[in-house]
Amino acid sequence: MAPDELATAEVVRSAIDLHAQRPGGLLPLLHEIQDRAGYVPPGAVPQIAKAMRLSIAEVHGVISFYHHFRATPPGRHVVRVCVAEACQSMGANALVAHACASLGVELHETTGDGAVTLEPVYCLGNCACSPAVLVDNDLVGRVDARRFDAIVKQCREAA
């Protein structure tokens, strides 16, 4: 196994140890894996299913139900642009168009240099300072095209 795969396998094992026995532990388990590995590797599903005494289909069904979980690695940074109503009232649709055009990607895609994955999100709870963007875990308010470009520049400069 490549070092990356080894590390991911270790993440999956420790997430199972931590959460498989908890009541309703599947979501905490999946969060643990994604928080640390960046995604939930499809190859880990049989192992998770066995530990939770579920079928592979049930685990896959849970992963695919929730927008938050991803089956492929994201870019180094995940930029979530709010597209809910309050942000639309302040120009979120134009911001999304700018984001897609300037990054050369569609929503849910990652830039060629692997720096940024662009995702839509339905509300960040910053509806009085729209449009809002969540950069990894950092919230940014009143984002216009210029501010968005500055965010992307920072993402690219950071490792």
């Binding site: 929730y66 009232s89 302040m90 509806c127 308010g141």
Partner: protein, 523 residues
């Protein structure tokens, strides 16, 4: 050396999103440079978001406000001696005399912005845990009756009496019961849950603990949406503090009663704000809506009797027990008792949180508090109660904010979130968006929601393209009727409301003549 000056810089996510972290760092560094002793308190937000980051300084006369403060303003503030309330262009005088704040009736949000969110001593100094002590001194039946008497109704939107839910759970004989907080605040235009969890997490913990000791539940879960990382951190820290102080655990406040509390993170599914779907998700499953009955109060989490209440409902509980049901009931009108933290969002000049008793008009909220639109253009419509709420036209702005008044007009107050649109808004696009959103977020269990939402998007596209508009409007109304009457939960059952409200009040946005809409069809 004199005592350090207390300076407050919010840690609320909204303030952080506008640069509060850099402002706090700049104040600390400037204080070091000038050899001034400053105690930085990272409070919640006062809810005046157009002034964030709002920096406050404790003076003998009270707290003096400066905002919105940018990092580069800090040196100037020091030069103006803001640490002693000195005059500055960003100054607003005493925070609590700012009209937006002074005119509010803060009950649930009494401490938010005032205290250090993670200081238990601060919480207790400001009436914290008085409610729990009072509740523990009552019989469970009397405690439930007090909540019923207060008139508190579910603040998540459904407005079902909170005390009735508790009474049902209390009446169940199961040895295992649960308390679940619905903190899946997914509606656009709402942020009161987030503000209270970040700005006064102990009030939610206390409210849930009261629920637990009253109905006989020993385990609580806060189901928190994954989009709120700051709230998650604040809650987890506060839970640790409460546990260490014996306010959570096997022997709450020495009462002999146990209550344990845990935060569980959602995963970006809007439908999980629906209570039965939330319970499925907490059990580790797909968030698919359940049939009712059985009610969650009878068979809820893991099949056990469960109190499941909205975050603001639970956070309103401590004040009711601290000061009595009557004191709470004295606010409000009709069957809408107490206060609601209204949230002004979208295209609004003075966006923020306004906690007021029910009964003020929408116009007062939008103009007296909100100051009109952010763009300076006329306000054309307000979507109230989230993505499933109606677009309310200017002609209805004089309605009083009351659950029944709104229901009679085909609208709903819901969670109290108001998303403002100016006259540039394309409401046909927003109507289409409501159905598109429903299609994306549908759990797929019932046909009207799962398929109806997709068909509705197609029909709306045909109307906007001018293809046989009369027949397609008829079809759209018929489809909306099916969804309203035939959906299992509020997602499919209410997604038609924004669509119908645009059809009725703003038909021109669909390219329809406004005259063809008879008043009788008004939804």
């Amino acid at each position: 050396m004199s005592a350090p000056v207390r300076v407050f810089v919010p840690r609320d996510a909204c303030a952080l999103s506008l640069g509060a972290e850099a402002v706090a760092a700049a104040i600390a560094s400037q204080a070091r440079k000038s050899g001034t002793a400053v105690e930085l308190v990272r409070n919640g937000s006062r809810g005046m978001f157009w002034l964030e980051p709002l920096v406050e300084v404790q003076t003998p006369d009270g707290r003096v406000a400066y905002g919105p403060v940018r990092e580069e303003d800090v040196a100037g503030l020091f030069a103006a001696d803001f640490l002693h309330g000195g005059r500055h262009a960003l100054g607003h005088g005493l925070t609590e005399r700012i009209p937006y704040f002074a005119r509010q009736e803060r009950q649930t949000f009494a401490r938010v912005g005032l205290t250090d969110p993670l200081s238990l001593a601060d919480y207790q100094k400001h009436d914290g845990y008085r409610g729990l002590k009072n509740a523990l001194a009552m019989t469970p039946a009397a405690a439930v009756q007090a909540l019923i008497d207060s008139g508190l109704r579910g603040r998540g939107g459904a407005a079902f009496p909170t005390g009735i839910k508790w009474r049902t759970v209390l009446g169940e004989s199961s040895p295992v019961k649960y308390v679940v907080c619905n903190a899946d605040e997914g509606d656009s235009g709402t942020f009161s849950d987030r503000m209270i969890m970040e700005g006064d997490p102990f009030v939610l913990i206390e409210g849930m603990t009261i629920a637990g000791v009253v109905v006989g539940a020993t385990q609580g879960y806060i189901y928190l949406r994954s989009e709120y990382p700051h709230a998650e951190a604040a809650l987890n820290s506060a839970i640790d503090v409460a546990r260490a102080a014996g306010l959570l655990g096997d022997n709450v406040l020495g009462s002999g009663k146990a209550f344990h509390l845990e935060v569980r993170r959602g995963a970006g599914a809007y439908i999980c704000g629906e209570e039965t779907s939330l319970l499925e998700s907490l059990e580790g499953k797909r968030g698919v809506v359940r049939f009712r009955p059985p009610l969650p109060a009878v068979q809820g989490l893991f099949g056990k009797p469960t109190v499941i209440n909205n975050c603001i409902s639970l956070a309103s509980v401590p004040t009711i027990y601290a000061f009595g049901a009557q004191a709470y009931k004295d606010f409000g009108m009709g069957r809408s008792r107490g206060t609601l933290p209204f949230q002004l969002a979208g295209n609004i000049r003075h966006g923020g949180l306004v906690e007021k008793a029910f009964g003020l008009t929408l116009r007062e909220l939008l103009y007296d508090f909100g100051g009109g639109s952010a763009s300076g253009r006329p306000i054309r419509a307000v979507q109230i109660g989230g993505p499933l709420g109606a677009y309310v036209p200017e002609s209805q702005f004089d309605m009083q904010l009351d659950y029944e008044v709104f229901a009679a007009a085909g609208a709903m107050i819901g969670h109290g979130g108001m998303v403002v649109f100016d006259d540039q808004a394309d409401l046909a696009h927003m109507a289409r968006y409501a159905m598109e959103f429903c299609a994306i977020e549908s759990c797929g269990k019932c046909t009207p929601c799962r398929i109806g939402s997709t068909r509705a998007v197609e029909v709306i596209d045909r109307i906007v393209d001018g293809k046989d508009p009369e027949a397609n409007v008829h079809l759209l109304r018929d489809l909306c009727d099916t969804m309203v009457a035939g959906s299992l939960c509020a997602l499919g059952g209410m997604a038609p409301f924004p669509v119908l409200s645009v059809l009725n009040h703003f038909p021109q946005d669909f390219g329809l003549p406004s005259a063809t809409q008879p008043a009788a069809a008004q939804q």
